[in-house]
């Protein structure tokens, strides 16, 4: 049997096809995460008019521009407060933040902490390719210690963040880490997370062949994907404090936290209702 050549894809209904091909490099991990996300939305049958994507600046940040939902491409580091503001006024929408590691955890770190702390009802998808890809591969808070970046040419002297631990500590109620390779698990995780409430966080580790990969001996996307195949272990409900890793060692992936607690939006709505009844 041979492949059949066609001109459209089942997920095209969620894509701004007039803007394809997208800017992600061959071998980039963002595309796979994006693909898994759209499939999850499709499986759940979510009303695309009620999904809102917010992105920051960076390669992953371009996702908002390709997804055919109401979408907003904010300034660097600021998709989370935008999502928070939007959610206050439109609690009926699924608000999803899709952005990169530098955008969310460096310049945007403070916003992450507080949105998680407040348990704002948003889903944050963090593409972690260990670098600032769009600007050429500078060191980021997630660049593994010792690995090289354009601004850490002798090897990163700093200690990189353990994102699931960070998210859990700030108060996120759903915390998971997958990768561009674990697309099926990622899709399932997206489906789960989209049906939960509260501050939900999913980290997706993936290749950046053009920037980080090229100067760290995983020159092509496929090289990093093979590395992930050989060096990841799935351990659901592992204590997030144990999922830090050094480059070269095993990376633990899985769903680490899945809890429920009142969201900020629920509490605010309760307050409004209480006041409304009190004032009558």
């Amino acid at each position: 049997m041979t492949v059949k050549f066609v001109t459209s894809h089942p997920m095209d209904k969620y894509l701004r096809t007039e803007r394809l091909p997208h800017i992600w490099c061959p071998g980039c991990g963002v595309g796979s995460v994006f693909d898994a996300f759209l499939h999850a939305v499709d499986s759940l049958g979510i009303d695309p008019n009620k999904l809102y994507i917010v992105s920051g600046i960076g390669c992953t940040g371009r996702a908002a521009g390709y997804a055919k939902f109401d979408s907003f491409h904010t300034t660097h580091g600021r998709p989370i407060p935008f999502a928070v503001g939007l959610k206050q006024v439109r609690p009926d929408l699924h608000v999803v933040v899709m952005s990169g590691d530098g955008d969310l955890f460096s310049i945007g770190g403070n916003h992450f902490v507080h949105a998680a702390r407040r348990n704002n009802d948003i889903l944050v998808v963090a593409m972690n390719n260990f670098t600032y890809g769009m600007t050429g591969g500078q060191v980021a808070p997630t660049t593994p210690t010792g690995t090289r970046a354009t601004t850490s040419p002798y090897g990163n002297l700093e200690h990189h963040l353990n994102l699931p631990y960070f998210a859990a500590a700030c108060g996120a109620t759903y915390v998971a880490r997958w990768s561009s390779l674990h697309v099926r698990r990622l899709k399932d995780s997206f489906e789960e997370a989209l049906q939960r409430k509260g501050f939900r966080f999913i980290e997706a580790i993936g290749p950046c062949p053009t920037a980080w990969g090229r100067i760290n001996a995983v020159r092509e996307g496929i090289d990093m994907m093979r590395y992930l195949r050989d060096n990841t272990e799935i351990r659901d409900f592992e204590d997030p404090k144990n999922v830090g890793f050094r480059w070269g060692e095993k990376i633990i992936v899985g769903k680490f936290k899945d809890e429920e607690k009142p969201t900020f939006e629920e509490s605010m709505a309760e307050l409004r209702e209480k006041l409304r009844r009190g004032l009558k």
Partner: protein
């Protein structure tokens, strides 16, 4: 690596037994490729669990070698697992269930 025509691993032996001796029907898939979207990343080819994809000799309008099928009935076939569908960063390949007779 893919399966050879004479099965050697335990898995391959069992599969051959299930299919040929016991007549178990595996799900089958059809692969659709949007040639000009492919950027040649190789993810689908590398990670297809049945190893039935390979890079074509021809290239698309951007110069990339898109995937084509290399099935070998009855064991090395597309089983519609959907991995290529979910992993393709460019929405250039997807599988659909093949109608079973």
């Amino acid at each position: 690596m893919g399966m050879k025509s004479s099965p050697e691993t335990k898995q391959e032996i069992w599969l051959e037994r299930l299919v040929e001796r016991y007549g178990i029907e595996r799900p089958r898939g059809e692969i659709y490729v949007i040639k000009d979207r492919c950027k040649g990343c190789g993810f689908c080819i590398e990670f297809c669990p049945e190893q039935v994809l390979k890079a074509s000799e021809e290239f698309n309008v951007h110069g990339y070698h898109y995937p084509i099928l290399v099935e070998e009935e009855p064991l090395k076939v597309c089983v519609n697992c959907g991995f290529c569908t979910y992993v393709c960063p460019d929405f250039a390949i997807f599988s659909r269930p093949k109608e079973m007779k």
